[in-house]
Amino acid sequence: MQGRNSTVAEAAVEPRSDKTVEAQAFEPKVVAFLCKWCSSAGSDLAGVSRLQYPPNAIPIQVMCSGSVSPLYILSAFNKGADGVLVSGCHPGDCHYLKGNFYARRRIYLVQKLLKFVGLEPDRFRMSWVSAAEGVKFAEVVGDFVKDLKALGPQRKLKAEH
């Protein structure tokens, strides 16, 4: 964490507009933890349907959103992710019946912790995306990347070298 106010000023906060989106040099890196049975399948559907959405998300397939440890999320930010997404099955549809309910509680806590220490709340997102929701997946990622471009590179938790 840099802990200096200049961090925010340095991070290119550009106004959102189509022209400046192209001119931006900054491409946010998003780490997306996707559950195998729903969200990852949903991302495949988005691909197969040839939906256009930003390629900034690095997908990491996990068996269940409930298996996403807060450690992975914090580590992603530590290694320089600009945004982290956790996506799983809708409540009630979890392949393992209850995994996403555990995720919901645990992820709630970790995002509160990140907010408490001053990380921009917009950098961390959770979504329910089913295997049939290719369109939703593309939207979730598209919105995320757009919002992250406005926030700029993540510096508060990134390991400095």
Partner: protein, 344 residues
């Protein structure tokens, strides 16, 4: 009224009868104003036991440490340990019971009520004495703490030097005990639960960011906070790259490929990672004994990270750690009504 002689007598009786292998209590220390942990095995040594505003340590830590120590012994003494436990300490014991780290018959709890007292915070005492090191501190029965230092003494209002966790405590007596000393009353009138963490949580985002960045910058990763926490009993800590349980059968590949979640480097990003992961691992388990904050050599307000999650657990999930050893853990349980709005 907690009568010290009653506690000493009970401790002596437990040792004389051979029912317990040791009594964990407090005694005066040569090192400073605070009492130190005492491991009493001889009945006559129970005369040295004390209980006052300087008994800050959470002795439940030694239930964990002694258990680990026993693992290395060929013929361990399997008798239970007796422990002098304040309200906060007893809640730690309940979580250890809940998690099956110890069994109920492995511990004999001498529960003591803080009544309207509590324990002092040496940092606050330093501030009140303007840096003069105190040599003794005790409640004067009039709502103040009498502090003795080289060259004099002074009385300071208790609310100024009591530990934050005492000011915020809602149950100043043990929730579990075999013997109970004092009154079962929550005579606390401070009514300040979660005030310390609210003061920080209510700041703006950049102010909070600077606040924590400044503190993580000063951390020296001595791991005192982890070492003193009874809930941090893992033999192998996931965010410590030096801490690897290695046996003769561990292969070279396993050693070489061990994931390094954070680097050894002591720098703000790695320090933040350590503290945030530890806070998450304590969610729903931390019972606010405040020791992490007390032992930090550079005065990082660590307890705030844990009480923030404690507040969320209470407000969003109606969960309070340490009151019931039968309850499930916070993060391996859920309710249908858990917050969902933050999920797209």
């Amino acid at each position: 009224m907690v009568v010290m002689e009653d506690i000493r007598a009970r401790a002596k009786e437990l040792l004389e009868s051979g029912k317990v292998r040791a009594v964990l209590g407090y005694r005066r220390s040569s090192a400073g104003v605070l009492a130190e942990p005492a491991f009493v095995t001889a009945p006559e040594d129970t005369a040295a036991l004390v209980l006052d505003a300087t008994c800050v340590e959470n002795l439940a830590l030694y239930l964990v440490n002694e258990k680990k120590r026993q693992r290395a012994e060929k013929t361990p003494d399997t008798r239970p340990l007796a422990i002098v436990a304040k309200g906060c300490d007893s809640r730690t014991i309940n979580v250890l019971l809940q998690e099956n780290y110890i069994k109920r018959d492995e511990v004999v709890i001498l529960g003591v009520s803080c009544e309207n007292g509590g324990v002092i915070d040496t940092k606050k005492l330093n501030r009140a004495l303007r840096g003069k090191p105190a040599t003794a501190a005790s409640f004067d029965g009039n709502g103040s703490v009498k502090a003795v230092f080289t060259g004099g003494e002074t009385a300071v209002p208790a609310a100024e030097v009591l530990a934050d966790r005492c000011l915020e405590c809602t149950q100043a007596y043990p929730s579990v005990s075999d013997f109970f000393f004092g009154e079962k009353e929550s005579g606390r009138t401070y009514n300040r639960r979660f005030t310390a963490v609210s003061a920080v949580a209510d700041k703006g985002m950049e102010e909070r960011s600077d606040f924590w960045a400044g503190h993580f910058d000063r951390c020296i990763r001595c791991y005192a906070c982890r070492a003193v926490c009874p809930m941090c009993y893992c033999d192998e800590c996931v965010v410590d790259s030096t801490n690897c349980v290695v046996k003769a059968t561990t292969t070279a590949d396993e050693k070489a490929n061990r994931i390094r979640w954070i680097e050894r480097s002591v720098c703000p990003s790695e320090n933040a990672m350590y503290h945030l992961v530890r806070a998450m691992h304590l969610a729903g388990r931390c019972t606010d004994c405040g020791e992490c904050e007390r032992v930090c050599p550079v005065n990082i307000p660590l307890r705030l990270l844990n009480t923030m999650l404690e507040r969320e657990a209470l407000e969003m999930f109606e969960y309070q750690p340490g009151l019931d050893p039968e309850q499930p853990s916070l993060i391996s349980s859920f309710r249908d009504g858990d917050p969902n709005d933050f999920i797209r």
